[in-house]
Symmetry: C2
Subunit: 338 residues, 2 copies
Amino acid sequence: MSDFSIGVDLGGTNLRIAAVSREGKLLEKVALTAEVARGPDCVVGDMCDAIRSLSEKHRSEGKFLGTGIGVPGVIDMEVGVIRKSANLPGWSNYPVRDEIERRLGARVFLNHDAKVAALGEKWLGAGRNVDNMAMITLGTGIGGAIILDGKIYYGMNGMAGEFGHITIEPEGVPCGCGNRGCAERYASATALVRMAREAIDAGQAPALVKAAASGAEFSARSIYELAVQGDEPAKRLFHRFGRALGIMLADVVNALNLEMHVIGGGVESAWEAFAPTMFEEMRQRSIVYAATAPDDLMGDEDSSAAPGPSRTRKKTIVTRALLGSDAGLYGAARLPAL
Amino acid sequence: MSDFSIGVDLGGTNLRIAAVSREGKLLEKVALTAEVARGPDCVVGDMCDAIRSLSEKHRSEGKFLGTGIGVPGVIDMEVGVIRKSANLPGWSNYPVRDEIERRLGARVFLNHDAKVAALGEKWLGAGRNVDNMAMITLGTGIGGAIILDGKIYYGMNGMAGEFGHITIEPEGVPCGCGNRGCAERYASATALVRMAREAIDAGQAPALVKAAASGAEFSARSIYELAVQGDEPAKRLFHRFGRALGIMLADVVNALNLEMHVIGGGVESAWEAFAPTMFEEMRQRSIVYAATAPDDLMGDEDSSAAPGPSRTRKKTIVTRALLGSDAGLYGAARLPAL
């Protein structure tokens, strides 16, 4: 017998639902397509059907603790509404939490996708031994979340952790949020493709031209593959990516002096291409990071150097996520179990 | 009878020591010159003499709770050392806390000047009705501090709140911290004077030329006075100041979603000259601020507009400090009383 909860990860493309035991064991996972074009009512209907079906099925194994849901975008936690989401156009101000609760006849825990990913990594992943961390998810945009004393830090309206909209270039590329030069305009999958097209238009990138014209989808992954093969224009794009991410992280380290910064999301898999520049920028731009960085710049655990008055004991760790795309599912399932 | 503590505010020019009652009443204040040129041992000696004298004198009135000290710069709270301070050259890695404790034969509470100012404003000033706030002090540089749940948030090494070193212009003016384009290179007293000299060298600012050549000290105050009189070049400097401060605050609001941001320090008195640009930048650059800003942009209290699902209830307040230069003295005295 094992108590369990349901975690939901709603994205712009995928809708994934999992039953997870209180101990963090995956009992069952269902992957659906999020039919976003058919509107929120339809997607919420599919979601509620799957939640009902999974919770019925596993009820014989233990007590059902409830449902947690991670959604993308700027969430107003107070009223349970998505204020703005690049991945879910048409959901702005849709009463998503109320609607799901009405259909299920039960309270659900709606939360921001990056916040539940942070909770997942804190529970079972890279952050399981720290109590204070930031999560940065690199995907279509940049998601962010803060864990303090082991719990999600929400801020006044549940909007804390919008690191992706930290200004990197005050006169830079316009962003959907109303600002210019936001971090996510340089350090996301969308940004990589945009910057690659700019390099193509400037006639500076023959291999990128070929990849874009190949018929296969031209994505962050295609650019990464060229960079790994040593293509200079593709490598430059990841340097710009790493630079923006490094500036953003330097700001976060200066403001919050946290123990750990976990980098996740799909583009995290390009770590080798962007991380060296990211660490270089952080070391140069953050006085707090420079004073507390581990000797091994790639973010591994504390060195064994003796502490002393001229040396700060605790290190600022920047490291890769461990749970991959399941962090959000686990974290969402954790919400009702807390 | 009233229990009391001693608060010390150590700056690059002034050394102020006060006895404050547990209820926040100022019992006595002593202002000395910080003879920084004579070295840390000498300044610490003067400080300890004054602490001893004040605590003896008021011991008849109530129990002496101890001494709190606010110092400028990047402080390593773990080891009680100033890592870097523009105002206290020669104090880097001086064991300031140990040395004061050794001389007084008692434990003292060493803290960062902006953190104790935040504690003062939280205790008796602008933040007395909120539990979550940031303090920004505009002086020689920019100081910063975060209060969460009514308490100073230190971060892992006591270095949280270094807002002044948030990057505003990635290729901007070099900063002593090793970065380029830090907020405090555009939004501090030092920055105003530097930008004014640049405008003078560019031949664009006849009134500034006159002020700089007048024999009186050419300071942030002289530039402010010209701006108030309508001098366009002086006004432009305060627009650059407000822009940098607005970008920095937008980053802080996006990351932390706090209830209140209290602006203090000497240059706060130029509020009218920089605040309109600062609010304009924040509204444009922070999606969180845009969703939560009060209707009255100058940061006054919550409007009476009805809350509802399309409206976030709690507002993000950016407001002026109330305790002026005494915030740090009160906050330092609060440390042993907590």
